[in-house]
Structure formats: structure tokens, C-alpha cells
Symmetry: C2
Subunit: 142 residues, 2 copies
DNA sequence: GTTCTTGCAAAGCATTTGCAGACCT
DNA sequence: AGGTCTGCAAATGCTTTGCAAGAAC
């Protein structure tokens, strides 16, 4: 369980405490295969364990800083999270018809990021590329 | 004033009314050179004219559908708008230190969009690419 | 023992909604 | 005249905050 070790390391280095809640939240997140909303995570956790929303909000912040999860924001005001460990760099296609979110990889995005850094002296740390359109689902192509 | 004609056209085609508020809002937006928050627009408008926030919210939606403005959403939960007429296709660099938002163009993004469409049968309609990092400002590079 | 964390309830903030009156067409 | 739009205030929904009790160190 590499993510647990990483959380441990981050907590130690930052003088944060190893509370059971933090590990429970991390465990649940790493069981979810896709992007998730906070409410979805909250409900999942509270089927078995009991953790308040305030604590979940607090710790999503911690996990985010630790590099264990990533926040994704979309034009429709939805905010999602996803685990970020052992994930390939990827971006998202969002279907305007059905709302489906599809991951995709394109190595050329790397070239653009490198180009930006060279041309503008802007030190790139992260990025998000969201592509909106209509997916290949039949329902969406009427 | 091309934007006014376009709004006119859109309103007629969609059986929406040509209220003074709609033209006032549009006029103010097209005086703003950068991205803006709703509150900024609200305050600007209400120095001279009087338009309620509800009406502004309603009509940002209308203008957005008419293709006259574009909504941009960032990881920090901020939502900005910008006028979209006569603007080159561009994306955004966001400085994590000072919050500055810089526009940039890279023609290669087009290749990625085309590639997505060919590879996945996803019909691309729009996109947003946000690059986060540290800008070249001295204050941000201590 | 000290400090951080949790959890509850309350507060905050941006956006949406309901509705009466006003205004386009 | 008839339906739409505006503006106010209230409602909503998501997130943050304050604080007392509990837990980690």
C-alpha cells in the first residue's frame, strides 16, 4: 500500500498527526476507480465508518497537498476529485449531452507545456485540459 | 458594434426580448479588457446604471449561449468570464504565487483536438487548457 | 501536558428561485 | 393583451468556521 506510506511520510514531514480518519479516507478514495464528488465519498465512507463532512473537507486538502489526490474543476461548476498516485498523466473529455467524463492521454500536451516554459519563463507546475463535446454514445448523437 | 448585432440576432432567433438590461450588460462587458468576476461586473454596471444581480446572472447565461462570452473555471473555485468575440483562440497560465492570469496561444492545441476527434469519435466543441505554475515576476521567484 | 484534530452546528458566500409588478412585442 | 423579464428577498447548496471535547504525540 504505497499511498499509505506516502501519506505517512507527508504527515511526519509536516508535523501533522496520524489520525485514523486520515487513513480511512485515503483507503476509501483508493477503492474508487473513477472521479468522485465529495458527497459520493462521504456516503461511501459513512456506510461503514463515521467521519464528518468537515473532517473530509479538511483532509481532502491535506491529501491534495500530499499529492495523493487531484482536484478537477469543470465549467458546469462541478468539482471532482481523483486519486493521483500511479496514474498516467491524462486529461478529460466531457460529453455535453450525457455528462460522461472520459480520460485520454496525448503525449503532445507535454510539448506544449515545455514550449510555454521556454517561451515565457513561466515555470509550469501542473495543468488541466478539458475538452467538451459529444461522445460516441448513440443516445448523444440523435 | 458587431456584438450588439449578434445579440440582436440571437434574441430574435430564440424569441427572447430585447430588453435594455441585456444591451447594457453587453456594453459593459465589452468595455472590460480582461477576465472578470461577476461581482466586478455588477459593481461596474451599478456605478451608472442599475441592474440587479439576478438579472446579471440570467443574462450571463444568455450571452454565453449566444457565444458572446465564455466562462472559465479554475481549480481554486474562482469562476471568471471573458468576452469571446473577435478573440483569438487562447488558453490561460495561472500563477500560483500572485494569482495573475496570462493568456497564451499555441497552435499545437489544435492538433491535439483534431487527434482526439479522429481517435475516439468524440465530437469536439470546445476546450479549456489551464496551466498552473509560477510567473516570471520577481516577487513570485524568491 | 500540550497541541492538533474531530464533529457538530452555525455562519458564509455564490448562485438560484418564486413571485409581483413592469415591460417587450 | 399576453407572455417574458426584472428585481427583490428568501431559499438553496456547498464549503468554511468556531469551539468544546477527544485524541495524538
Amino acid at each position: 500500500m504505497k499511498q499509505k506510506e506516502l501519506l505517512n511520510k507527508y504527515l511526519l514531514e509536516n508535523n501533522l498527526r496520524q489520525t485514523p480518519e486520515r487513513y480511512i479516507i485515503l483507503k476509501h478514495i483508493y477503492k474508487i476507480s473513477k472521479h468522485f464528488e465529495i458527497d459520493f465519498l462521504f456516503n461511501r465512507i459513512n456506510k461503514k465508518d463515521k467521519i464528518s463532512k468537515a473532517t473530509i473537507y479538511n483532509n481532502l486538502e491535506v491529501l491534495s497537498k500530499a499529492g495523493l489526490i487531484k482536484k478537477i474543476s469543470f465549467n458546469n461548476n462541478k468539482i471532482l476529485y481523483e486519486k493521483s498516485l500511479n496514474k498516467n498523466q491524462h486529461d478529460h473529455l466531457i460529453c455535453n449531452a450525457c455528462g460522461e467524463i472520459i480520460e485520454f492521454c496525448d503525449p503532445r500536451i507535454k510539448n506544449i507545456l515545455d514550449g510555454v516554459q521556454k517561451m515565457t519563463n513561466f515555470q509550469v507546475q501542473s495543468h488541466e485540459l478539458n475538452i467538451y463535446g459529444v461522445c460516441q454514445n448513440k443516445k448523444c448523437n440523435k
